[in-house]
Subunit: 224 residues, 2 copies
């Protein structure tokens, strides 16, 4: 290793910069219904994708791809897949929750100007990947880190992101022509927003409460 390629002084953050990072983290929302119709500028979309591309990845595998969906036809097909799955989903909840479940908007597929499918190519970098030898799911997790990078960058850009998870994998593969060696990680709806819930929508709508952080912290080992 040459001297030139070694560590260098770490980039420092001012208190204001640090606070901005927390501001993005605490004000990020899973957006379903607040998307505005205005298009996303290509330069902004590229910044979001650069943010995703700078996620950590196991063995520097960078296993992600980004499928940008703009056409009404594709969105309609995805929305139909969502609707089928969501009918099945609703029936799984106890009777007393079905009315509330049905009242929740759980996707913004047609309302958001951009939909984005983020995938993980399990074969990228060959069979043996540094860091994935003993925990094979690490490449999936790397791709999720890319989703979260994009989500936080979007918040700072005034853009909302909603993660749709109610669809059958087979339907989404068919619609987007995704090959077998590629895993679908996230289907995101993306668009400008000027209003958001002040906390998680499922909390605000009475579906479930935030857990106290202290209850989730253990010392040295699991304490159950």
């Amino acid at each position: 290793m040459s001297e030139a390629s070694g560590p260098v002084p770490a980039v420092r953050f001012t208190p204001e910069e640090r606070d901005a990072v927390y501001k993005a983290i605490f004000n990020r929302r899973d957006v379903r219904d607040q998307f505005l119709p205005q298009p996303i500028e290509e330069a902004v979309l590229l910044r979001l994708l650069e943010a995703a591309h700078h996620a950590p990845s196991v063995g520097f595998m960078q296993p992600w791809n980004f499928i940008i969906i703009r056409s009404d036809e594709t969105k309609a097909a995805v929305h139909a897949a969502f609707t089928r799955a969501n009918e099945e989903a609703k029936a799984l909840f106890p009777d007393e929750r079905q009315a509330l479940y049905a009242s929740l908007k759980l996707e913004g597929i047609r309302k958001a100007p951009i939909n984005l499918c983020i995938t993980c190519d399990r074969t990228r970098g060959g069979e043996v990947v540094l860091g994935r030898t003993h925990n094979r799911q690490m490449d999936l997790y790397s791709t999720v880190c890319a989703v979260q990078n994009l989500w936080l960058a979007a918040r700072a850009e005034g853009i909302g992101v909603g993660w749709v998870s109610i669809y059958s994998d087979a339907d989404m593969r068919r619609i987007l022509a995704i090959p077998d060696h590629v895993e679908i990680i996230a289907y995101l709806c993306i668009g400008h927003v000027d209003e958001l819930y002040s906390g998680p929508e499922l909390e605000k709508r009475g579906w479930r409460e935030r857990l106290p952080l202290g209850d989730l912290i253990f010392e040295e080992s699991w304490q159950g």
Copy 2:
């Protein structure tokens, strides 16, 4: 739904705040050897855990727990598990890569003042979880979002994070007494840093190059 619980004007970011979020994203590193011995203040550690706790989670499930490891004994046991697995891992690479592989430091378990295991309790919130009905892995992905939140907040705090993935799941479960219904998502090494690589260490050390972003973007469907 009462008026009071509806959307409110979205928090806005100044250009400087937006740039700070990108600064964290682009300067985040997977740290292995740059940890300083100084302890992490409890208030700072709590801020990092609050950041993790504000990740998105499917059905607002908040499936994560945080096991804070401080003792030399636990770290030594985890390090032994890493060493066993890493010997096995090294043997899997072609001869011409083994010398480089062996030269890479792939963990900072004993050097980092804090180790943190982040887990996913698959049973939290009951059997049927909103948004997880059709894609059961969504709770695992929520927990990865918590990891990435913590990682970016840490960067802004001047704290480095390294994700160790080379261990057998059975070893880690035994050492940390993790029950069967809980999945181990990440084992992190955490400590202050004043030097970092200027890019991903595996890139700087010649293991693998960054892929051009343009090659990873598709329009409307998979283009293989």
